[in-house]
């Protein structure tokens, strides 16, 4: 993690901004992935057909 952060391009400020953006995008993607699994396996809403 630390190495990944150090390897980010630009000065420290840019590294922090890039890291935060990557984190947010990752969390949003994870949220959608969870939702997709939940809808398909856990609870589809009980619809028929």
């Amino acid at each position: 993690m630390k190495q990944w952060f150090i390897s980010l391009p630009g000065p420290m400020g840019v590294k922090v901004v890039v890291a935060v953006i990557v984190l947010i995008v990752g969390l949003v993607a994870l949220f959608f992935f969870y939702d997709w699994i939940g809808t398909n396996l856990l609870d589809s809403g009980g619809t028929i057909g």
Partner: protein
Amino acid sequence: MDETMAKSTERPKSRSTAVVTRVVRIVGWMSIVIGVLILGFVAQQLFVTTWFAQQNQAALVEEVESHFTQAEITEVEYVFPSSIGTSGQGTVTPGAGGSATDPGAPLVPKSRTVLVESTPEKGTAFAIIRVPTIDRLKDGWTVVEGVGVRDLRNGAGHMPNTPLPGQPGNAVISGHRTTYGAPFHNLDELVPGDLIEVDTALGTHTYAVRETIIVRPTELWVTEPRDGAWLTLTTCHPKFSSRQRLVVFAELVDGPNWEAIYA
């Protein structure tokens, strides 16, 4: 000589130890990451989705109240399917002008005037479902038009192409059982005779549970039209799985259209 021998046997040992340590470390970190992801999944599905659904409920209740004041209510002539032999039961009921024992009398389709409200737009909250015997539904849960993924995130969903609650036929409402507020979480607790109330623009319609069954998700027959006025509730079964469907059939026992349909 002895020292050299000792060094040469130590080197491979420390190398293998380092490899084992590295593998254990990787497996350990992977287990932690997988554990956190699974916990995150459980938290997101059970708590985050429910939080969002509950936040939406307040706004949806306002939407329902607004729908009650704006919905167009009309009186329409309803012809009973069984009186024209289209219900699938194949019966023909003589109308007011005829008699079952008089073969010469003309068969008149049985019809009554019922109140009908305008169909709400897809995604609009238009009704409130309440089950006094189930804690989660005691205070009511909004019903939106449509059973798409987005519709069901907000509340229980009314299946388009089926009558609205309180109208003749088979009104079908689906709802989540474990996520997004899980309005139908304890639907399996319903037993024949339990009452279900649905508030619509027409008024409050009371249904009595007649039967509870478990079917495959593809069994569309449960949504087919029925004689009289019915409410069919569907949800996932068992809890925490979408493998099957729990279906509750309830029949209208009171409400603005009850007399026109059953009396």
